[in-house]
């Protein structure tokens, strides 16, 4: 179990470094946040209101005090209050986070369920028509940015075919069917690109494993091809697939920013865009820290899964 504890410790350290960097970035960059904030309307702010805001934000304190202050609050889960409506950032974030997670979870589920079998099929029947078809499709899917997919889906399904609403959100408890209907388009948008990644990685990883010596051994044992693929090849091929999934969680989380914006999905990423537009610093910092923490934790989970799949990792 030592290796799991070690990974957890490293992850905690990373989260600390990341939040410190976000804090320092906001405070060390030239330009006074208070001044920027007050000049959003276009008029030059007067010195008194700037000073008042600086006091309100604690910007008049020495930087180390500010840092320790926010760090101590961060540890107990307090990320400050939003500048636009005064609500605590943490509670707002926690309200919105599950919706973003739901979106990512649905997308990951769809794309894995469709991507791994497609990749296995393409690797086993190498050069067959099905594999070629999937490969071409994945090439197109990888090249279409997520907001292009989203915009086109809205245009086709909401504007032309009128099969689904253009966007919005209804809690599952209120209207489960409508909730799923509203979820389907943004989830499908994110899933498309991820499907292509998983498909490609499954295919190439399996092709690579099928060349290894131990596959020859498995065949020399007289195992059926099905057993060779499922028991010997796929499990060895899964580790790289997981890595791709983990690396793509980053762009996935980035993708949710655009998808939530397009489909009016009130998740955490949507709140971030809004906060960036409003220069709502505590909200920006809070969102980024939370999403990065999420990212680091997901990577941690993948690392642990990696270790469970491959006994050699545990020994390292």
């Amino acid at each position: 179990m030592g290796w799991i504890l070690r990974r957890i410790a490293i992850s905690l350290l990373l989260i600390w470094v990341v939040s410190s960097i976000v804090f320092l970035a906001i405070h060390l960059v030239p330009g006074d946040p208070a001044e920027v904030l007050l000049s959003l309307g276009g008029s030059a702010p007067d010195a008194d209101s700037v000073a008042a805001l600086r006091a309100q934000l604690g910007l008049d304190q020495p930087i180390l005090t500010q840092y320790l202050h926010s760090l101590s609050h961060f540890v107990v889960g307090d990320l400050g209050d939003s500048l636009s409506d005064g609500t605590p950032v943490m509670s707002e974030a926690l309200r919105r986070l599950p919706r973003t997670l739901e979106l990512i979870g649905a997308a990951a589920l769809i794309s894995t369920a469709a991507g791994v079998p497609a990749g296995v099929a393409a690797a086993v029947n190498r050069g067959g028509p099905l594999g070629r078809c999937f490969s071409a499709l994945s090439g197109l899917a990888l090249s279409t940015p997520v907001f292009v997919v989203g915009s086109l889906l809205v245009m086709i399904f909401a504007q032309w075919l009128r099969l689904a609403p253009a966007g919005g959100y209804v809690a599952f408890g209120e209207d489960p069917l409508r909730h799923l209907l509203l979820l389907s388009m943004p989830a499908a948008t994110i899933a498309l690109g991820l499907w292509a990644q998983i498909f490609r990685m499954t295919r190439s990883s399996l092709l690579d494993v099928l060349q290894r010596d131990f596959i020859r051994t498995a065949r020399a044992k007289g195992l059926r091809e099905h057993a060779v693929i499922m028991r010997h090849a796929l499990r060895n091929a899964l580790a790289p697939i997981l890595t791709v999934l983990a690396l793509n969680v980053g762009s996935l989380l980035g993708g949710t920013v655009l998808v939530e914006y397009i489909f009016n999905w009130p998740g955490l990423s949507g709140a971030l865009v809004e906060a960036v537009n409003n220069r709502d610093y505590p909200m920006v910092v809070g969102c980024i820290v939370i999403i990065s923490t999420l990212f680091v934790s997901l990577n941690l989970l993948v690392d642990i899964a990696y270790g469970l799949l491959d006994p050699r990792v545990r020994a390292r």
């Binding site: 906001i26 865009v273 980024i288």
Partner: protein, 605 residues
């Protein structure tokens, strides 16, 4: 070497030229508004129509390409310079530099790219000028990782040590030796980064946080067209198509480059010849003959035509007998073993020949019949025991698996049988070792496990392909002893494939010497070694160092490659005894005492 990806490369080149030439193309000003012409349909002066402010759509697309490309190329270039520098220094120098590179990239990679970009845009405000450094920071870590991994691999290669031994300085090694050898992956990463920056730039502009209006940008155009998509869907479609096409061509170039710089020959599926009958070869095998092979030829299709690495090989093995198949690299000895197992690599195929295992034809039978024989009546062990065992399964389970595949027993029975087999092949503490993974065992132990797996179902024939080559001398002796013990106890016939003549002298009853895919001599091992009847066998014996006697003599020249075989005797170009008659292919002749030789001068030796 694969072909250069010309199609995608020219598509990308077209895009770049279009962007470069934008100011000279006599297009309308992309920012000039014409409120009278809002949503105008395409006509002569506006080929793709006008947008919601009456601006020319085509012009905005072309100028958008210019913005998009300059931002993404600039960002990728900056990221590449910074990332590769960090990565190469970290990977080559190790130590402190390595720590800095790795931790820096670790931390930057904790921010999803979009978030990092949003954070920086929050701090510095939107605009094309900030986008380049922003995107460079986002993508520099991936360059650093690629360069680091490459440098780490290259630095451990002998040619780097060689240039260090020559006294080259570190900057010279990094610039002249490491950098050219990681250029391939870095180039691929570069086109990936260009495509990704393009997507990110468009995404930020789409959100209104990237390129600021009224400058033309594909992302801005898509964002703006969303509001009017019911009136003018074409305004959404054009930039979407432009963006997707641009990224598609860059991605295709990237894939093409990857194949081009990393040439892995694409293996073809086996295409079995229908007319592979071999008339007149079917000598009915005698009763105690376990394996009878007649006229085996293996062909491999290469881009330069088919080659025949195995030609017309025949031999018999009796029960309890050890036949050594001897040859240097390229002699076709391993392919012969794999062909008998029905395990030829996808590129190779059996072109002619028949083989009977216990009276069952194996080369021409349905794959399912051959599969049923593998692991049961015929088993095989390989050169590298560590890589031949599956790293993610326990060794006991891997042995039990072969029993379960061929015998109707329960899982528990199979597992206890596996433990008994481990004991039989001399693995200490079998119950505990059965639960171990291959990486927890030494090479010698792994080879014992492989042998246990091979004899699990009491095979009639065991094919061993260089089973001791990867092992240390003292461990090799243990494994050889184990194999002869097993042969004596079970009466299994052994086909021992090796290049090592002393090992043959130790273990073999009979020997078949292969050269360039052909049998050149075969017979009783002791007889053949004492009185070789082919110049190649004699020269090979003279090449092996002996305890007493003169230093070994080599054979001048090298083995001909299967694509460039001499027309006559294959060994003639290296042979001290060659005559003019050797220009014609010599037959394999019986020379008495159950021996054969493919030399026209065998009697003079």
């Amino acid at each position: 070497m694969r072909r250069f990806p010309w199609v995608s490369a020219s598509a990308v080149a077209f895009l770049v030229i279009l962007a470069l030439l934008a100011p000279y193309l006599a297009l309308p000003d992309p920012t000039r508004m014409d409120l009278a012409g809002r949503f105008a349909a395409p006509h002569a002066s506006h080929l793709l129509g006008q947008d919601e402010y009456g601006r020319d759509v085509l012009s905005r697309l072309v100028w958008g390409a210019r913005v998009s490309l300059s931002v993404s190329l600039g960002a990728a270039l900056l990221a590449a310079v910074v990332g590769v520098t960090l990565g190469v220094i970290g990977g080559y120098l190790r130590g402190g530099a390595e720590f800095v590179t790795l931790r820096l990239t670790d931390i930057l990679l904790c921010f999803p790219p979009m978030l990092l970009a949003l954070l920086i845009v929050t701090l510095f405000g939107p605009g094309a000028r900030t986008l380049i450094p922003v995107l460079a920071i986002v993508y520099a870590p991936s360059f650093a990782r690629v360069a680091y991994a490459g440098a780490l691999t290259i630095r451990s290669l002998d040619y780097v040590t060689a240039i260090e031994a020559l006294g080259a300085g570190r900057p010279r090694i990094m610039a002249r030796t490491i950098l050219p050898n990681i250029a391939g992956p870095v180039l691929v990463q570069f086109s990936l980064a260009v495509a990704a920056s393009m997507v990110l730039e468009a995404g930020l502009s789409f959100l209104g946080l990237g390129v600021t209006p009224p400058a033309p940008s594909w992302g801005l155009m898509i964002g703006a067209a969303r509001a009017t998509m019911s009136q003018a869907p074409q305004l959404l479609l054009w930039p979407c198509a432009a963006l997707t096409a641009a990224i598609l061509s860059i991605n295709a170039l990237c894939d093409g480059l990857r194949d081009y710089v990393d040439p892995q020959p694409a293996a073809r599926r086996p295409t079995r010849l229908a007319d592979r009958t071999a008339p007149g070869l079917a000598a009915p095998p005698s009763r105690d003959t376990v394996l009878s092979l007649r006229g085996l030829s293996v062909a491999i299709d290469t881009p330069r035509g088919a080659i025949q690495p195995v030609r017309d090989v025949s031999f018999d093995i009796k029960a309890g007998e050890t036949l050594a198949l001897v040859g240097e690299s390229g002699s076709g000895k391993s392919l012969t073993g794999l062909a008998l197992m029905g395990l030829l690599p996808p590129a190779a195929r059996v072109e002619a020949g028949r083989a009977w295992l216990d009276g069952i034809e194996v080369l021409d039978s349905a794959p399912d019949i051959v599969r049923g024989l593998r692991g049961d009546r015929v088993a095989m062990i390989f050169q590298d025991p560590m890589s031949s065992l599956n790293p993610v399964h326990r060794v006991g389970d891997q042995i039990a698996e072969v029993i379960l595949a061929h015998r109707d027993v329960g899982a528990a029975d199979a597992r206890s049988r596996a433990v008994a087999l481990l004991r039989q092949v001399g693995v200490p503490d079998p119950p505990r070792r059965a639960a171990a993974y291959p990486h927890e065992m030494s090479g010698g132990m792994c080879q014992r496990v492989m042998i246990g797996m091979a004899v699990a179902n009491g095979p009639r024939l065991l094919i061993a392909d260089e089973p001791t080559t990867a092992l240390d001398v003292t461990v090799q002796a243990q494994v050889l002893t184990l194999m002869s013990d097993l042969k004596r106890e079970t009466g299994v016939a052994l086909l021992f494939i090796t290049h090592n003549l002393p090992v043959v002298a130790e273990i073999a009853d009979r020997v078949v010497v292969l050269y360039a895919g052909q049998v050149v001599e075969q017979g009783d091992a002791a007889e053949t070694f004492a009185h070789p009847r082919h110049p190649y066998t004699k020269a090979l014996l003279g090449s092996a160092p002996r305890e007493e006697g003169p230093p070994p003599e080599g054979i001048p020249g090298s083995v001909p490659s299967p694509g460039e075989l001499p027309s006559g005797c294959c060994f003639a170009p290296r042979c001290a005894m060659r005559l003019a008659a050797c220009e014609r292919p010599p037959p394999l002749v019986e020379i008495g005492g159950g021996r054969t030789s493919r030399c026209i001068r065998w009697s003079e030796m």
